[in-house]
Symmetry: C2
Subunit: 258 residues, 2 copies
């Protein structure tokens, strides 16, 4: 914001005071005096400039990984109202990425340049009871949900603008365990702790949070049986937590949407 | 416990009632009557049998991985007072194991046979600020502190007796972040969530908990600078949490020794 535009509020206040004064002798037809016209012009100029600045300050460039999933779609829909969205995913997105490959993450960041916010709404895990979970099955959650998200941050810090943010995704099963959910819970717990611990060291005012959603109403048909008795939440409600993370000022938080 | 020994309390009570009766006419020298001598013998037999049974019920076979470390040594010292301890570690222990290798974990379990409790007091992590933590450096905590502990459980369930337990180790930095502690915090958070989620599915009454210690008084010289302002705890206090996990009945818990 330039010094000149910073002066706008002062000029506008001055204009308003004058206008009040002018109102007293409107009948005297002074309203259209050369002086008042000039002030009105200054006001409009300043007002328009402020509008532009406000939009520039608020409108940010957001990378959403997993933008085609249920959460990703809802988040993109909410945030594209006033921000620029870059959609990333394994296919059919603006930019391709596989979070299980550090090379793929690096390539993605090289392609998109600097962004203000990075959101991840992707991540897989094997669903199996602990008695049937093998180290190999558990590796899916380790490499996707845990390392995928952590590496998106570790490799992305230099590509996020000052004051930008990371928003990762965890889930209710880490707090409220479900049968067969142990591997996903493990990864979620790791991501939550990573977010809390990394927040204290993020450079240049970069913030980091995670959203922990309950099972989604939109996913009940597919995943409902895994969450007996859970009160599903609409993805539109979950998307608000991502908005809070991106547009707010908090860091190190877990936004539970339960 | 056999039916015959279950009858002991009844026999002993009977004996005591008779003894009280006998006491009334001690002066009559009936104390040494054949009947009383027989009852006294029955009492002593039963009493000794109960002592043996009590010891057998409480004394369990405990595997401690990382038994030569600061925590492992303290835990072994506390638990060997009345239990059988098998010490495991990378070298110089009763049995060798490298938790970063699933084959090594499997070999260890094959060698030691069934145990009643498995305790892990080992696990490494790179200490680096998030801006310097690479995916490669972060891999140490993933493969050691996180996967090492998780695989010790996944591969060990069939080697733990009914009603046995697993006790893993996390740490204060997941709740109270320290500079350079993000990788360790991540692994700890994953283990904590794994414990909570797996507890609901453990078969045959097997329990699982984790102990999250503050920095140890014994480690202050080595690690004190990483924990500015933290109130160090003695390892003897930390070892009590492991005892609570092994000898108690709770499951899915994180015992914070802060």
């Amino acid at each position: 914001m330039s010094l000149g535009l910073d002066a706008c509020p002062f000029i506008i206040n001055l204009y308003r005071k004058r206008m009040n004064g002018i109102a007293y002798y409107q009948t005297a037809d002074n309203k259209n005096s050369a002086a008042a016209t000039l002030e009105k012009s200054i006001f409009l100029l300043c007002y328009n400039a402020r509008e532009i600045i406000q939009k520039e300050v608020i409108k940010v460039k957001i990378l959403i990984v997993g933008a085609s999933g249920t959460i990703g779609t809802a988040v993109a829909k909410e945030l594209e109202k006033k921000h620029e969205i870059i959609r990333a995913g394994r296919n059919g997105a603006d930019v391709q990425v596989d979070l299980q490959s550090t090379d793929s993450i690096k390539d993605m960041y090289e392609k998109i340049g600097k962004v203000d916010a990075v959101i991840n709404a992707s991540g897989g895990a094997s669903f199996a009871p602990v008695t049937e979970l093998t180290p190999e099955l558990n590796e899916v959650a380790i490499s996707s949900k845990l390392k995928g998200q952590v590496n998106l941050v570790l490799l992305g810090i230099d590509h996020v603008n000052d004051g930008g943010s990371f928003t990762l995704t965890t889930g209710v099963m880490m707090d409220d365990p479900i049968p067969k959910g142990v591997s996903a819970a493990m990864a979620n717990g790791g991501v939550k702790a990573f977010v809390k611990a990394s927040a204290i060291e993020m450079p240049r005012g970069i913030r980091i949070n995670n959203v922990s959603p309950n099972v989604l109403q939109e996913s009940l048909e597919k995943y409902g049986d895994f969450f007996p008795g859970f009160e599903a939440v609409p993805s539109s409600r979950v998307s608000l937590a991502y908005k809070k993370s991106v547009e707010g000022k908090q860091t190190g938080q877990t936004y539970e949407v339960y």
